[in-house]
Amino acid sequence: MDVAIVGLGLHPFGRSPSLSGLEQGAIAARAAMADAGTDFKAMQFAFGGSQDGGNADSMVNLLGLTGLQFTNIWNGCATGGSSLNAAYSAIKSGQYDIGLVTGFDKHPRGAFNPKPSEWGLDDWYGETGLMLTTQFFAMKLQRYMHDYNISRETLVSVAEKAFRNGSVTPTAWRQAALSREEIEQAPMVSEPLNKYMFCSPAEGGCALVICRADIAHNYTSKPIYLKTAVVRSRNYGSFEVFAPSQAPFVAESPTVTASRTAFELAGIGPEDVDVAQLQDTEVGAEIMHMAENGFCAHGDQEQWIAEGRTEITGALPVNTDGGCLANGEPVGASGLRQVYEICHQLRGSAGARQVPNSPKVGYTHVYGAPGISGVNILAV
């Protein structure tokens, strides 16, 4: 059974002091169902996830007590990818005809402060100041820049693109484009990454209505087909976060294995993708994920970015809505926002940030601790 996305809903990312995370998720869910011309009574199942916004299935109090199967999903920053993967399987297997995928969050200001015990680690690791995701991203990038000659100018270019794209995305948190000088002069957070090169924890909600492809036209004139949804954890040797030690070699990351499997299952290659969302928790992540997802060779990013190939008007537009950098990262919602954006691009409804020439194939990649990647391939 083929799978289609027929409803898109989003509560704007950023700060919403008057709304709980759960309420933002429910607003997104109602928007997605309205977009599909349906309602919660028609939903046969739901998958949802949140880190700091409470249990996703509490949302039934806001949407209605209809008795559906509602399963909570939690896979760190990759939660949205895992939720969509579960929904994909539920439709693909023939178990259900139509259902809801939702994610939301509401994080306190500042960097995440994960607890070692929740990640299989002892307290000393957090107490001595080693358990910061910012350090991991910085150290992975530092080595990558050393091995593949990636310049600081390229880091600045990725941040510049993110905020420029955010400035033409009405639902983005960061709506102001930034100059190269502003980005270059921002305070350093974790060498080589400064304040404007990291995304920030935020708030927001996102939801999708997903159904059997053969009934999709009952809900929309422009169904987006979910060709495949793959989630992978890390193999030994993958350089990962929350790791007191790493193997003596660097093996393929979960992004590489998820991406390769997704392309095999979809029967297409990276060259067939017209528009992509790649996890950009920081600028280096977008750069490294371009290669890990198979779009270019390691080191070629320097030239790709200098030539503007990942701009909205480029050969492979990446993070057209400004990505995590401009939208912030409400963990539960972030992976679904990527899919929401790709669906709008494939529908041709992305407004001022619309990729030209009617893109047909889209790609999303989300990455989360402690080494989970989720890849979706979408097409019209």
Binding site: M139, Q246, A247, P248
Partner: protein
């Protein structure tokens, strides 16, 4: 003399005039882990032994922690007294890359490939006034 004890047992040899990092070695496939663990991340087995991993290595990657982390960070520092610290992975002789605080905390003092050596440092006092110590690596000075 101030009484000292490790913040966490089993990370480094203690007490020891020449402390070294402790890890585990898989008796099936030979891969190492730090901290020591009973199971193997490489071959999925659960037959390992605790071994000393030495006290020297080279810096594989690094960054600098510029702001005082939130909880669960636990030292006697305040935001006013906080001193930025280096963080890196040090590749030991067996090849394992161990994550560590670094004494060096400026870009000019840190470089991939530089030789590093272990040192034991106080991290905070416990509620009995005993000084808790942990490990970090520092630049190895030429002999």
């Amino acid at each position: 003399m101030i009484e000292q004890k490790p913040l966490h047992d089993g990370l480094f040899s203690w007490p020891d005039s020449d402390p070294e990092i402790l890890g585990s070695r898989c008796n099936e496939c030979g891969q190492h882990a730090f901290p020591p663990q009973n199971s193997c991340r490489n071959c999925t087995g659960n037959n390992t032994s605790v071994v000393g991993l030495g006290r020297e290595g080279t810096l594989w990657t690094w960054t600098i922690q510029t702001f005082m982390p939130k909880d669960p960070y636990l030292t006697d520092e305040t935001p006013e007294t906080f001193v930025p610290y280096g963080v890196g992975y040090v590749e030991l002789e067996c090849g394992l890359r161990v994550e560590s605080r670094l004494r060096q905390n400026t870009t000019s003092d840190l470089a991939i490939g530089m030789p590093m050596t272990l040192e034991i440092i106080p991290i905070r006092k416990d509620d009995q006034g005993i000084e808790l110590v942990t490990f970090q690596f520092t630049k190895k000075e030429p002999n």
